[in-house]
């Protein structure tokens, strides 16, 4: 550790960093711009960085990280800042290394179906650019038009279509990374199977705590020959939940099954007029894809399952335009909640699929107790739910009640055998809840892996792991649930 005082080291950093970034940009003295890098998609957490570097190349990232290592200054990687767990919030007296200016597509290989991209490129741009070759990039977070591939790798992001196709980790063949000591490594390789320890997969989902991603090799898929999409309305959340179970029980793996409750339908409809029924208590969006024959058969089975479970209306997308409209509505859900209330908390939890409809009832009860409204959208096929807790930020009492409710909801997920996050990551927001899921031994094992990459603890410190400063001295201990002990439910 250098011995100079922190403020001296920061001053020296500011002096030297500018020369290390000849092509990119260093934001050093511009206080308003620095302040705008204080938060990610979750505006409740904020910390203004000392410096922001808009790097243009791996070399620039390497030089800046090396300087951080030399002077012992913490840094955080940033893509588009859409993260919903405070993962990209800068550490105190830290540096933001933003990949937003590294947004090129290096190469698309149509034969091996690999795209080599810079980390700042938006997820959707990869699919748009591969479209002329009949290819696309499968993981589709709702934020796909904005969020970066680097951010997706860091969060192991998912999306509606991950039910059938898998999460980011299933589509990243290799990553070039700058490790916290300033060395550049490529983890993984172009073939799906690489011998030795799979370091690539520890990097995917590490939320920026192991280093900065500077290049990514992505697996592309061929566009399916046929796609059919339906929206099925239900007069209760329970019957919609039952339809999800019926579809899965029939052995069908649709490309996507999404569920929305009445409040979520109202918000989306206000935002994009996707043609959802405002009088439905719940709606499912189910999409099947594959060969024409297969799709037609699956479509009928899905339809039958919905009818059996009492759907009140089925609407099929007539063409690509209508399909896009249906998805646009669903993908706008979070931001559209802004139309229902001046503020909201997006929660992200996972429950066993069979518990879907019962948990909704429990959430409703909790919400009624404190007089708050909760809109629900789910990746129903994965049991991944996103309750949106609506509140008025002008009332301190309501804000506190909302935060408390949001925490109670994830704890409820753990209690019934689920998890504290399905895809938004732990970040700052849920670091304290980690102790609700993992015991000390688990957490220590993760720490050892982290320290192997980052001995100084300068890569995105304060995230993922509970710390006494963040969580108080006695983080709640994880207790196994009765279902788990009896072997009826498995933790994942």
């Amino acid at each position: 550790m250098p011995i100079a005082s922190l403020s001296d080291r920061i001053a020296e950093f500011k002096r030297r960093v500018v020369e290390l970034v000849p092509h990119g940009e260093c934001i050093v003295g511009d206080a308003p711009a620095l302040s705008s890098y204080g938060a990610d998609g979750l505006i409740r957490f904020r910390q203004t960085p000392e410096v922001v570097v808009l790097a243009k190349s791996t070399e620039e990232v390497r030089a800046v990280v090396s300087l951080c290592a030399e002077l012992g200054i913490p840094f955080v990687g940033r893509g588009s800042g859409t993260g919903l767990s405070g993962g990209a919030v800068p550490p105190a007296h830290g540096v933001v290394i933003a990949a937003s200016a590294m947004k090129g597509i290096v190469e698309i290989d149509p034969v091996d179906r690999i795209a080599v991209v810079e980390p700042g490129v938006a997820n959707l741009v990869v699919s748009e650019r591969s479209a002329p070759l009949g290819l696309y990039y499968a993981p589709d977070p709702s934020s796909q038009s904005v969020c970066s591939i680097g951010g997706n790798v860091a969060e192991n992001s998912g999306g509606a279509h991950c039910l059938k196709y898998g999460f980011t980790t299933n589509h990243v063949l290799a990553v070039e990374v700058v490790l916290p000591d300033g060395s550049v490594e490529v983890l993984g390789g172009e073939s799906p199977f690489e011998p030795g320890l799979d370091l690539r997969s520890s990097f995917v989902g590490s939320e920026g705590t192991l280093g900065i991603v500077t290049k990514v090799w992505l697996r592309l898929l061929s566009r399916p020959e046929a796609v059919r999409t339906l929206v099925a309305d239900f007069d209760s959340v329970e019957s919609a939940g039952a339809a999800v179970s019926a579809i899965i029980a029939a052995g069908i793996v649709p490309a996507a099954i999404e569920m929305m409750d009445a409040l979520a339908i109202e918000a989306c409809e206000k935002a994009v007029a996707a043609g959802y029924s405002l009088d439905a208590a719940a709606a499912l969006i189910v999409e099947v894809d594959g060969s024409q024959e297969e799709v037609d058969a699956l479509y009928e089975e899905v339809k039958t399952a919905c009818i059996t479970c009492g759907t009140t209306k089925i609407r099929e997308a007539a063409d690509q335009a209508e399909r896009s409209r249906i998805w646009l509505g669903r993908k706008a859900a979070f931001a559209a909640a802004g139309r229902l209330a001046p503020a909201y908390i997006v929660q992200d939890g996972v429950v066993p699929r069979t518990a879907l409809s019962s948990i909704l009832g429990r959430i409703q009860e909790l919400a009624n107790q404190v007089g708050l409204r909760v809109a629900n959208v789910f990746h129903a096929g994965d049991g991944n739910l996103h309750p949106l807790v609506l509140y008025n930020p002008d009332s301190t009492q309501e804000s506190e009640a909302a935060e408390k409710l949001a925490t109670e909801i994830v704890e409820l997920c753990v209690e019934i055998g689920g998890s504290i996050t399905g895809e938004h990551g732990v970040g700052l927001e849920k670091a304290c809840s980690m102790a609700a899921m993992f015991d000390d031994g688990d957490l220590e094992a993760m720490q050892r892996l982290r320290v192997a990459f980052d001995s100084q603890g300068i890569a995105n410190p304060g995230k993922v792991f509970p710390t006494p400063r963040l969580c108080g001295d006695a983080p709640g201990r994880y207790r196994a649930h009765a279902l788990e002990l009896s072997g009826e439910a498995v933790r994942f």
């Binding site: 308003p32 711009a33 998609g41 800042g81 904005v146 802004g338 139309r339 001046p342 930020p393």
Partner: protein
């Protein structure tokens, strides 16, 4: 809502949930990759300013100034944030409370002492076409930003190579030349009335052929849009008030504008002159010409014009007023007219009111990009519903590419002989 020195309204800011969906739509973010040059970032600056976390300093002003006001972010935002009001409020606050460096002040003073006043614009326009012939515009090159000389040079470079045709006579009622459907008034504006007489003439010809009497009152001044978009709220209010006073009593079914930039302000005078029933009543009658013709339906006999038209959707038409399909439908109503859109058609051309005069560097990058995406279309003419865009695109395009307001093409088709 009133626009004044009090700054952006907290309530409007709070509708922004910081999701970032607007980032890909924003031209300045796409160029800079800098959060503070994005819609979300700018709204955050306003929020932080209201919180007292940051001050109204030169950096703050630079990030707000660099906003084009193109409203692409409004279209992209799922949360329905009223960014148009927010940015106008932020710019007005800067105007009222921030002391700009003297050079910037002078530049703005000169712009607003000339542009809103046709009598002062006219000699400049003549100088512009003269300077084109003499090659004076080269002065503009290599002077990306700076003082009055550079601004003047940029302004001259923008002006058309040939001073446009004469403006139609004022204080006249042009009679419908087809079965009468109503009476409309034509808003003549400032810059447009000096440089785009042919657009006005075309609007009159088409409206008359469609069965409308067209009143063209004289003594109309600037509508205040340029001033409002630049944050010069007091001037904008004065100009808007004068226009309403001049026209408020005229009995017309609708007020027609051919300028997208003016239309978005003309339709929301309530923002500038809150609580004034006359201005609200006036605003309610304002229609963009595309919007009006489309709503009424075309009845006249449009004859074939074999041409390929590149249509550029002006931001203040498509984003600020939501007029997207109407111009395309009108152009396609001309037999033999093939309409094509450039790639990235939703991106601003960099004209943006006085933006290309005060932020010439960004304006130039955007102007060149727009011109080259239009050039790729190999069109015979580029059409767009905003005078500023016509000038900006022409400036960066091959001199051989004709440009026109869509209504001019409609008028040309009316005049064409049946083949």
């Amino acid at each position: 809502m009133s626009v004044g020195a009090t700054g952006p309204e907290r309530k409007l800011i709070d509708t922004c949930v910081h999701c970032g969906f607007c980032l890909p739509a924003c031209p300045t973010y796409q160029l800079s990759s800098n959060e503070a040059e994005s819609p979300r970032g700018r709204i955050d600056l306003m929020r932080r300013y209201l919180d007292g976390a940051i001050g109204l300093d030169a950096d703050f002003v630079a990030h707000i100034d660099s906003c084009l006001g193109c409203m692409a972010c409004v279209k992209a935002c799922p949360s329905g944030v009223d960014y148009e009001t927010l940015i106008v409020e932020a710019k007005s606050m800067i105007h009222a409370s921030f002391q700009r460096p003297s050079r910037q002040r002078l530049v703005r003073k000169v712009i607003f002492a000339i542009m809103p006043y046709p009598a002062r614009m006219r000699p400049l326009a003549r100088l512009g076409s003269l300077s084109k012939r003499l090659g004076v515009e080269r002065i503009a090159k290599g002077r990306a930003s700076g003082g009055v000389a550079a601004t003047l040079a940029s302004a001259l470079a923008l002006l058309p190579r040939v001073a446009n045709s004469a403006v139609p006579a004022r204080n006249r009622l042009y009679s419908a030349s087809a079965p009468r459907r109503g009476v409309v008034g034509l808003l003549t504006g400032c810059v447009s009335s000096v440089l785009f007489g042919s657009t006005e003439q075309a609007a009159i010809d088409v409206l008359c052929a469609e069965g409308f009497d067209v009143l063209v009152p004289g003594g109309q001044g600037c509508c205040g849009a340029l001033a409002e978009h630049a944050g010069e709220a007091p001037l904008a209010r004065r100009l808007a008030g004068a226009l309403v006073a001049r026209l408020g009593r005229e009995q017309v079914d609708a007020w027609i504008t051919t300028s997208a930039g003016c239309g978005s302000t003309l339709k929301s005078y309530d923002r500038l002159l809150p609580g004034n029933p006359a201005s609200r009543e006036f605003s309610e009658r304002v229609r963009d010409i595309h919007e009006f013709l489309y709503q009424q339906g075309l009845r006249a006999d449009y004859k074939p014009l074999g041409m390929r038209v590149a249509y550029h959707p002006a931001c203040h038409l498509a984003n600020a007023q939501g007029i997207v399909d109407e111009p395309l439908a009108l152009l396609r109503a001309i037999p033999g007219c093939e309409v094509v859109l450039p790639g990235q058609s939703g991106t601003c051309c960099g004209s943006a009111g006085i933006y290309n005069l005060v932020e010439p560097a960004t304006a130039q990058v955007l102007g060149k990009a727009k011109a080259s995406s239009i050039a790729e279309l190999h069109a015979d003419v580029v059409a767009t519903g905003n005078p500023g865009c016509l000038l900006q695109i022409a400036r960066y395009s091959d001199p051989g590419l004709a440009s026109a307001h869509p209504v001019e093409l409609l008028a040309r088709s009316l005049r064409a002989s049946t083949a």
